[in-house]
Every structure is written in structure tokens, then in C-alpha cells.
Amino acid sequence: MKFKEIIKLLEIRCPGGSAPIEEREAVLVQPDKWLEIAQILKDDPDLTLDSLMCLSGYDKGDGENLGVAYNFHSMSKLHKLEIRIEVSIENPIIPSISQIWKTADWHEREAYDMIGIQFDGHPNLQRMLLPDDWVGHPLRKDYETPESYHDLTIPKDKTYWE
Amino acid sequence: MNSIVNQFISAFSASDIPGGYFTLFATIVIISGLAVFGVMAVTALVAVYFERKVSAFMQDRIGPMEVGIFGFKGGKKFWGGIGQTIADALKLLTKEDIIPRLADRKLMMLAPFIIFGGAFITFVGVPFSEGIVISDFNIGLFYIMAASSIGVIGVILAGWSSNNKWSLYGGMRSAAQIISYEIPIALSLILVVIVVGSLRMTDIVVWQADHRWFIFHSPFAFLAFFIYFISAVAETNRTPFDIPEAESELVAGWMTEYSGFRWAVFFLSEYANMLIVSIVASVVFLGGWLSPFQMFDFGLFPESWMLLDGPIWGLFWIVVKAMILIFVMMWFRWTFPRLRVDQLMTVCWKYLIPFALANVILVSIWELIF
């Protein structure tokens, strides 16, 4: 299925939920419509995007928005789709799709850990790679490295690795 | 009867030594104890060297082939790798002996010596050649069976007292395994008792000298040997039955928290146990100290020295037979993966025990007919 057809199909099945980003061949989805659209992506016989390749959280860097990029792929139909969801940094809540694609379970935890996006409905939204008592989300552009962690001083001098 | 203890008793009764029975008792205990300890230590050293060499040949290991000693280069020479064995022994003896803070201190210190003691007292009944045995009981086979089971108490103690869940798993698995495999061992050894009519080790070998090696007695005896050997491998916790110390599952099983000298004692006992089961197998099934050439004695060579027989050659033959069996055990270890717990029990209860039981009945019928 071509990108244009996918957009058309999504517009028919869930009007107003999505907007295409033409130059990226990606679809921008409204967070409140995301669960509905996700179910369509998985179950629609023409789409059957059964494989979630990658889920990347990112900070847009403008101090206002956080985003998540989902890269889907269909094992049977051999087409791909990228979904973007962007939310405000004050209230970064996105519905969790970990019940639809199990891959998302750990990836959403990682995105929560690194970017600080809250995935609503996730069964176990805890830190994944960082320690449980870590403060802050390191991959945000405004992240400040803490001065110490459990009495360990973190060196400010970065010349040795830059 | 001709045994080391009997030699002493007859020597004492001939002469009049002060102190009477106490001196006699002390002498016997000290001398035979030292002898057994010497045998165990030498076994462990030789067997470790042997095992290293076997594994090196099978796995392209470099150390056991190349390591030299005292300035002699190792290379492909026969002493290559002996330095590693010595270094290993020194390392074990000088390592720090760690006892975890929350462990049951007394029991944890006691456990290795129970295992060691089990192996140690078993040697009392194990013959090395005609007359070279500490004591030739009239219940020899039964005694060996009984005494070699003492070790499992030490294993459970070690597993429990370490206060480590992996150790506990190891101890429990070991208890289940050793107790289960004792049954096929006993059942296959009963065959020889039925045929020979005696539990004394010497009688068993004398019967084989008069007839033939017991393994060739009947098809059932042949099968019994393999049942015995497989169970013996399990009894000594060797691969593929090494689930109590499975290093990839239970870290090191019941030995996880041990180090240094106490661990070396486990090591010593393991190789001593291997020697015991191999010697019992060669005595009961493979003609003990009888020369294998005896089987081809068709009257062509009347003198016994031509058959390489006699007490000294007997020691040689029994060691060779035991070494071959030990080699097979090592061969197993470096070839097979490990069984799972339930598969291990399946092998014992569903295959070995029914076959061993059938063997006992069939060999009795065989004896009635022939």
C-alpha cells in the first residue's frame, strides 16, 4: 500500500485524527485518537502493520513539545509507516500501545525513562535503564547533569572526553 | 583372611608388645589412615592431571599441554602441564577461606569433612590387589555401598548451611539424585551376590578366577555393568548428571559459598569417589586384580608369570581397569551436555530401576537353569 492510500484510509476510518507530514512520509496523530488509530493499523486487513520496528521518543528542542516516532512495518504487506505524536512538555501524556504491540512495552518504558513521556495505561511504567531513584530525564534538551549521585561527585570537566 | 588389618593382628599376636589392644588399635588406625589419605591425595593429584590432559586433547586447551616446570619447557612432552597441577594445588591451599556472615558457621565448617569422611571410610573396604586391602570384611560390598552414601549428608549440610538459595537448590537436587541412583547401583551389585553367594570382595574375585569375568557371566550381568556404571557416574555427580553443581544454572550448586581449603576437600572427595566406584566396578564386573590375559589362558602358557598375574601385577591391573573407567567418565564430561532435573529422575526411575529389577529376577532364573 502506498503512503497516499494509507492516509486516505486513515482519513475515512478515523476522521480528524491524523495529518500527513508529506516530506517525511509520516503521519502526525492526535494523542486522544491514538489508541483508535493504533487498533486500525494493526487490524485493518489492508494495513496489517503487525510489527513495531522502533519507538523513539524525542525532545523537539523548542522547550514546548516532546514527541514520539513510531516506525511500523507489515510482515505480510511489506509496507512501512511512520507515526508521529507530539505533546506539550507540561503535560506529556500519550496512550500506551503496549497491549497492541508488545514491543512497545519496554520501548515505552525507555522513552519514559529518557524523555519523560507518560504513557497512559502502561502496565509497569518504571525506569528501564537508569536507576529507580534517578532524578530527571537525560535526553531532554534542557537536562542538567546533577552534581552528585549518592555521594558520588559527577565531574564537571568534560575536556577529557570531548 | 589376607588383609592389612589381619597382617597386623597376626604380627601382634606373634610377638608380645606392651600396651596390648590399645597399641594394636592405634597402630592400625594411624597406619591405615595415613595409607588411605595418601591414596586419596595421590588420586586427586593424578586424576586432576589426567583430567586436564584429557580435556586438553579434546578441547585444544593450551595450558595443560604447554606449561613447563622448574625450567623444563612443557611443549608436547609428557610433563607438559604438570606445573599447572602443582600451581592449582598450591592455589587451593593458600586461598582465603571465606565463610559468609549469615551462614551457619559450625555446620558449614563441618560439611566438607563429612563428605571427606564418607569417602575416607569407604576406602577401608576397597581392595587394591590380592591382600592389599585395609580390611576384607565378609560384608565388604554392603559396607562400601553403605559408607559411600554418608557423603550425601555432607552435601545437604553444605547446601543448607551456606545460607544461599542456589546452594540450597544444589543440596536438595543432590539428595534426590544420590538417593535415587543408589537403588539401581544396589540392584545391579546384587546380581554378583546372587551368583557368588558372598559379599566379600575376595570371594567375588576368586569366583571370577575360577569361572570368568562377571561381566561375561550372562547377558544380564553385561547389562548390569552398564546400569551400574551409568548410576555410578550419577552418584559421583559427574556430567551429564552434574545437576547439583550445574555451574550454568546454580552457579556452583552446594559448593557456591566455599573456597580455599574447604573447597579443595570437596575436590579431593570427588576424585576419591570416582576411584571408589571405578574400583568397585572393576572388582565386581571386570575381574578385579586378575590379568586380562587369563581369559585367553588355553593352557599354552602354564606359568602364571606369563599371564602377568600375582599381587604386584594385580595392583597394576586393577589401577589400569579403574583408570579406563575414570577415563570414560572424563570422556562423558567433555562430550555431553547436562540433563534436566526431571529427565535425570526419568532416567533413573523409568529406565534403570525397572531394568535392574528385571535383571535380578532373570539372573536368578539363569542360575537355576545353568
Binding site: 528542542g61 510482515m75 514491543t103 535526553l139 | 542456589w166 537448590y169 544454572e249 534436566r340 526431571d342
Partner: protein
């Protein structure tokens, strides 16, 4: 639920919770599994990761594009060439660079050698997990030869930093092709030896067949890739289905699990897929070595790596599965955001789904068959 739990399900005792790891011989690194056991049977597994986290993605945002390459080495240190290639592929896709054909051939050759080396380690340690020690030493002996080849190539034996954006760091040494041919001829019969020693061993089959079965739908849903996905009977290989580099020029088959010893998707299938893949890699190597063109390997390397603003998601079939790089560029010399989709990360996430209900020994086998590398999971 497994057969075991059905058989012994009636007997239950007080549950015990154990830490398997972070220091445990069979977790292949610093992985920690919190397990609940009822006797030998495991009722719950909770993987805890992050002990090896080295802030790869944070580092990437502070380094220029070419400086990132050595960091990718350290993600999957078992298959560092693949990591180099996967990342470089992403940047090249972003910059739309033409690569000289000789470079592509060399990348394929080192990639397939690396695949064999990585599979050797995976199969060897899998045997070790099940208690077979000899296959491990044999496979390490042969892996050593590949590392020798790589050493002659770039001086490093484990972390190569060999594949650069637009090219490679060094051209092949003079006798490299001859030595590689010798290695390939030597190695092909070795696989039969491994099969005789381990694959066809009755105990090995008993331990792995029908254990840890992953049905294909579940495998896809959990995002399994690489040999782990193909072991479940899914014919999917990025080298075949979405050929990158020059893989479309080679004739090879995709190894797929067929449940020969038990059910499709069991540990034995996942194991055997890797064995077949070594054969297929040899096929590719022979073709690539015979047809490698001449040329300058450094002419494609751009003077300045500064991709235009944009995003890219590139996929690469590493020894462990699909390595994806989601790279966002804002036109500066440093990337705006780099997300690495780690195959072992996804492969490991299935352990609590399929591991529960099996015995401790089976979980060790399942973990070994999933072929995880903690450096790549924790990044």
C-alpha cells in the same frame, strides 16, 4: 503452560524469590532476573536491565557524526562490525552518499565474517549453558581465526572502528583474500563437526526441543528479529527482503526454523537457524571473494559530514537481528537525536512471556537461545 507444570502442578510449596544475576554464569553479562520459583519451576520472571548503561544516546548528541562510530562498537561488542555498518548505513541514507562498489564488497565480507564469529560465540555459550564445554572451546578456536583476520585488517580484535561514513578505514591487506579463502575452506567442514558433537546429541535435543516455544505471531508482536524470529518459522531477513549494501547480488537462502526436532520455534530451532546461517554466510563469502572489484576505498568519504535537516530510520540485519537507527539531524555537525533500536533489547523482552512455567534449567536454555548481548541491551 509447560508439560512439566501440568505434570507436577498439584504439588505446590511456598514460593521462593531468587535473584538470577547480575552476577550469574549464564546471564551472558550483567542481566538480573528476579524469579519466583515453586521448587524447580519458575512462576514469574522479571528482567531488570540497565547495569551496563553507558548513555550511548546522550553521548551521540554531543559528538560529531564520525566520532560516534567507535561508540557503536561498544554497543554490541560481539558483532562490532555490524554495529559500525548499521550506524553508517543510517548516516549515508541521511546524506544520500554513493558508495564505491569495492567498499560495499569489503563491508559484506567483513559483515559475513563477523556474523560467523558472532554465531560461533552464541552457539558455543549456548552449549555451555547446557553443560557442554567442548563445543565452546572448539568454536572459540575457530572464532580466533576470524579475529586474526580482522586484526590484519584494522589492528583491532574486538572493537574495530572499521566502517566509516562513505568508506572504510583501511583497504584490504595484500593476502587478506587468500587467507579468507583458506579460512572458508577450513571452516566449512568444521560445522559438520559441531553438528556431530552438539546438534545431534540426544541429551542436547532433549534439553532444547519443545522448550521455550515462541509462536510466529507472538514473535512478531514482541518485535523479535534475526535468527530468533526465523527460528519461529518466519521467513524474514533484511538482507533478502530489503537488501542494503550489495546483498542483492548474492545468491543465498534464508534459514528458517522447521521444527525438525519438536515444535517450530523451540530452542533447538533457534539454535539450528544460526548453524544454517553460518553455511549461508560461507556461500556469500565465496561469491564476494570471487567477485570483489578494484578501486579506491577512500574516495567516497565526504570531507565534511553535515547532513541536511531531516530524519531517517535505517534497518540493518545484524547477527542478533534488526539494528535500527533513527537519526534526526538539524543540519549541524552533531546529530539532534540518535535512537538505536537494539535487537537484543526486543528479543529479551519476551523472556517473561515464554519463560514462566518452565524449570530453572529451561530458562537458562531459553536465555541462551535468545542470544542476548547486554552491551547492546543497556546501551
Amino acid at each position: 503452560m509447560s508439560e512439566v507444570i501440568k505434570e507436577f502442578g498439584a504439588v505446590s510449596a511456598e514460593e521462593m524469590s531468587i535473584n538470577m544475576g547480575p552476577q550469574h554464569p549464564s546471564t551472558h553479562g550483567v542481566l538480573r532476573l528476579k524469579i519466583q520459583t515453586d521448587g524447580e519451576i519458575i512462576s514469574k520472571i522479571e528482567p531488570v536491565i540497565g547495569y551496563l548503561h553507558r548513555c550511548f544516546e546522550k553521548h551521540c548528541e554531543n559528538l560529531t557524526y564520525e566520532q560516534i562510530i567507535p561508540f557503536t562498537d561498544r554497543c554490541d561488542y560481539i558483532a562490532a562490525m555490524h554495529m559500525n555498518h548499521a550506524y553508517v548505513l543510517g548516516v549515508e541514507k541521511l546524506m544520500e552518499i554513493e558508495i564505491p562498489e569495492r567498499v560495499e564488497y569489503i563491508r559484506v565480507i567483513v559483515g559475513e565474517l563477523q556474523r560467523i564469529a558472532s554465531h560461533l560465540l552464541a552457539l558455543g555459550t549456548f552449549g555451555l549453558d547446557l553443560g557442554a564445554i567442548t563445543p565452546f572451546t572448539w568454536m572459540f578456536r575457530d572464532r580466533e581465526r576470524i579475529l586474526d583476520l580482522f586484526e590484519s585488517l584494522c589492528g583491532a580484535r574486538l572493537l574495530y572502528n572499521y566502517i566509516w561514513v562513505g568508506g572504510i578505514s583501511h583497504d584490504l591487506p595484500k593476502d587478506f583474500i587468500k587467507r579468507t579463502k583458506e579460512f572458508v575452506d577450513y571452516f566449512e567442514p568444521q560445522i559438520d563437526e559441531y553438528n556431530g558433537l552438539l546438534t545431534e546429541n540426544k541429551i542436547f535435543i532433549e534439553r532444547t526441543a519443545d522448550v521455550g516455544v515462541i509462536p510466529p505471531e507472538v514473535a512478531i508482536n514482541f518485535g523479535l528479529t534475526g535468527p530468533q524470529l526465523r527460528g519461529s518459522g518466519v521467513n524474514w531477513d533484511l538482507r533478502k527482503n530489503e537488501p542494503y549494501s550489495v546483498y542483492d547480488k548474492f545468491d543465498f537462502d534464508v534459514a528458517v526454523g522447521d521444527g525438525r526436532m519438536g515444535t517450530v520455534g523451540d530452542c533447538w530451532d533457534r539454535y539450528y537457524v544460526k548453524v544454517i546461517e553460518m553455511w549461508e554466510s560461507i556461500k556469500i563469502l565465496r561469491q564476494a571473494l570471487a567477485n570483489i572489484p578494484d578501486g579506491d576505498v577512500k574516495e567516497g568519504i565526504p570531507k565534511k559530514i553535515r547532513p541536511a535537516a531531516g530524519e531517517v530510520y535505517s534497518r540493518f540485519e545484524s547477527a542478533r537481528g534488526e539494528v535500527g537507527y533513527y537519526i534526526m539531524s538539524n543540519g549541524k555537525p552533531k546529530p539532534f537525536r540518535v535512537k538505536m533500536r537494539s535487537p537484543a533489547f526486543c528479543n529479551l523482552s519476551i523472556i517473561s512471556e515464554i519463560g514462566e512455567g518452565w524449570m530453572i534449567s529451561d530458562v537458562v536454555a531459553i536465555l541462551g537461545s535468545l542470544d542476548i548481548v547486554l552491551g547492546e541491551i543497556d546501551r
